[in-house]
Symmetry: C2
Subunit: 479 residues, 2 copies
Amino acid sequence: MQKISLPRNVVMFKYYSPLLYSMLDYFFRPSSVAVIGASRNPKKFGYIVFQNFFESGFNGNVWPVNPNAETVYGERCYPNIMAINEKVDLAVIVVPGEKVVEAVANCAEKGVKACIILSAGFAETGNTQGEEEVMKVKGNMRILGPNVIGIYDSYSCVDTIFNTRYRQGRPKRGTISFISQSGALGAALMDWCSLSGIGLAKFISIGNRLDCDEIDFLTYLEHDRNTEIIVLYLEGAKNGRLLFEKLREIRKPVIAIKSGTTEAGQSAAMSHTGSMAGQSMIYSGMFKQSGVIEAADPEEMFDFAKVFSQPLPIGNRSRIQIITNGGGFGVLAADAIIHNGLEIAALDKKTIDKIANTVPKHVNVSNPLDLTGDADKLRYKAALEAIVEDDNIDAIMVIILFQVSVVESDIVNIIIDINKRCRKPLIICSTGGEFAELHRRLFEQAGIPVYSSPMRAAKALKALFNHVKYQITKIKNKT
Amino acid sequence: MQKISLPRNVVMFKYYSPLLYSMLDYFFRPSSVAVIGASRNPKKFGYIVFQNFFESGFNGNVWPVNPNAETVYGERCYPNIMAINEKVDLAVIVVPGEKVVEAVANCAEKGVKACIILSAGFAETGNTQGEEEVMKVKGNMRILGPNVIGIYDSYSCVDTIFNTRYRQGRPKRGTISFISQSGALGAALMDWCSLSGIGLAKFISIGNRLDCDEIDFLTYLEHDRNTEIIVLYLEGAKNGRLLFEKLREIRKPVIAIKSGTTEAGQSAAMSHTGSMAGQSMIYSGMFKQSGVIEAADPEEMFDFAKVFSQPLPIGNRSRIQIITNGGGFGVLAADAIIHNGLEIAALDKKTIDKIANTVPKHVNVSNPLDLTGDADKLRYKAALEAIVEDDNIDAIMVIILFQVSVVESDIVNIIIDINKRCRKPLIICSTGGEFAELHRRLFEQAGIPVYSSPMRAAKALKALFNHVKYQITKIKNKT
């Protein structure tokens, strides 16, 4: 048995197993990788996966394995994994389904620690026998897959996603990690995140979950220092009871979609990842009881996830201050806040005076605070600096419509600066075309989440406040 | 009294007034325009508005009026509107609030037909007296405003929107017309439409509604040949009873947001456009009874509007067929269809056989029809051609995830071609980054609406089917 050294700063939780943690680490931080089924044909997955390790900036050894090639992507190719003289931490298997068992057996013999089987054609097509055979030969190796698109780690640069980079963007580094039971859904959302400027720490496609499943990776991410928020797309739990206990235990915010909530969806899930979808009511109850934030659609998962880049609100209240340069958006925001069970903040008398002293007379200092269409960056600055100090306010929604020429681009810097000094959650609501998009991305890059509608913004705030409320209740129940 | 010639093909409705119609036409199709307050300073609204008429491709005469300038934008400037020797159909007033009454009086004297007052500082700031004075001097002129951003007509190229084109895009020509009580909200959404590839026929900012209001423009758009769908953002009706009757009468689909549905929103609306917001329940009931489709947020208005570019479904059923190359999106789509009260179609035996004969064995011919991750354009084509012919299907949701390399770009042409021959509504669900966006726009340009999540797609289909259901009920009640 190998000796295990624990990463520092790791707190021991109930289900935390140092062995498990250390073994899973080979998926994300291998010092060496073999791509079994590496191909010379740029159209094949075996080519794209091998190429990824070079284009991503991965910092370890990567070897191609293919009995029919001398070189792949300019690198010397090995006929089988045994022919590699050095130790291999991670094997990525991209061979056709019928050759997978042999490849896994070879990996086990070689002493590989972790193995990602990208190949399909197993339980999802009824071939459970194939999966049993893999389990028989795998030895101590941990297996991810089969039928997955694998792992993307923006920090270690492990990238087994077999979609070319021009078709599917890779998100920048961030604090959100994403576990998806569906590979294609995961790929589409990673692509969308990359365009939207949303950063990811890790992406994990769990597919058929022959060995490693959502519980393993939730445990891993719970202790992962790059991960602050966990996003989960699930068609069905492998073990509902265990999942519930794990979710209750995790202190990091978890945002989840459980699909297959209808009979039609369930039967679709059954033929997709071969998993029983389970009853939606049970899952909704489980999520609620374990403080998991349930999202209605994939974009909403990330709407919710990115709000956690802001400081958590303090206390039990949820009084929101709206600032806007467009009256209509202000009205919609007030509606959205109430509809989502949050409160409209009442400004302190001092704050009102402070703002009234700096803004023109036609500005009605209230909530929503409509700075009106002629508001420039200085008017926003004056209002925000007063609001940030007001103890009657728990969070701030800043609406900026960039269509009017009086809003200078460097309002972005002013707000980023205020946000740095502000201990309250501050989010932006903004929509538009190319010019607005440019500024939206600048905010996102600085960790200030931007929402395209007041409703989406209010829902995200609600998710944030609900998380805090759950944590407070949990602490109270313990004492 | 001038002689009025009615446009051909116009059916006479209860509230249709030829005179009203013909007068409002001067807002949208003037043969000559005077910009009163045209400026030499590129930062001023008076410059941008004047410039617009040149940049937009407007085909009539445009004259700048400014007593302090000799030329504006290279054009000879007039000290006042009386100095223009030719007839002026439309005057756009951009002078400071206190000079508006005089400008309006001059326009009336000159015989101007329609007048847009962009200037603010009236009822919205409590200056109702100023509005009364305008009404006193306006004569027979129709007035839009004050406190509006005016009109954008993509066909006639009238464009009084005082946001520069680099900050706010102008949408391409389309069949949707948009009435907004909030100017800034309208501008932001026009900008978003231009980026999203959603076409508009007309945009109208109704602001303080001193003279012309939502009823006038609803009546106008009802008969406008370029308008097929009407989108309405309202903070409060000027006359609730009349609005209700007008909405019941209109046969074109109307999609609306009524903001100020909460007390907080109402008081915000009061100080924004000075309009009483009214009770939300009453509005929701009014919308339901008049077949108006209510949207939850601004983007949803256009999600709903663009689905009407597809043929209306026939009959009372709403059986949807899902086709996908990503299992997870298929599961979510099945859930979303059921959650929105639509049905999952059951394919005809013949259709199943037809598809099964052309797709590989690992494809399970069902609904959702998961063509699996290795589906290429030909697999989509074969499946779609069979599905289009199936009488058990009322609408088709095609999910295409463009991240996988096997999906060639010209799948867009194949689907556009099938859509042309197809008499059923067909919509796309697709999400991702730049590559996916490129293809999304191609679909939108061809009039095939694209939605970024199955939930948004299903909600849009529901809006379409609800519209048809309402129309059928209306016809039944008449007979």
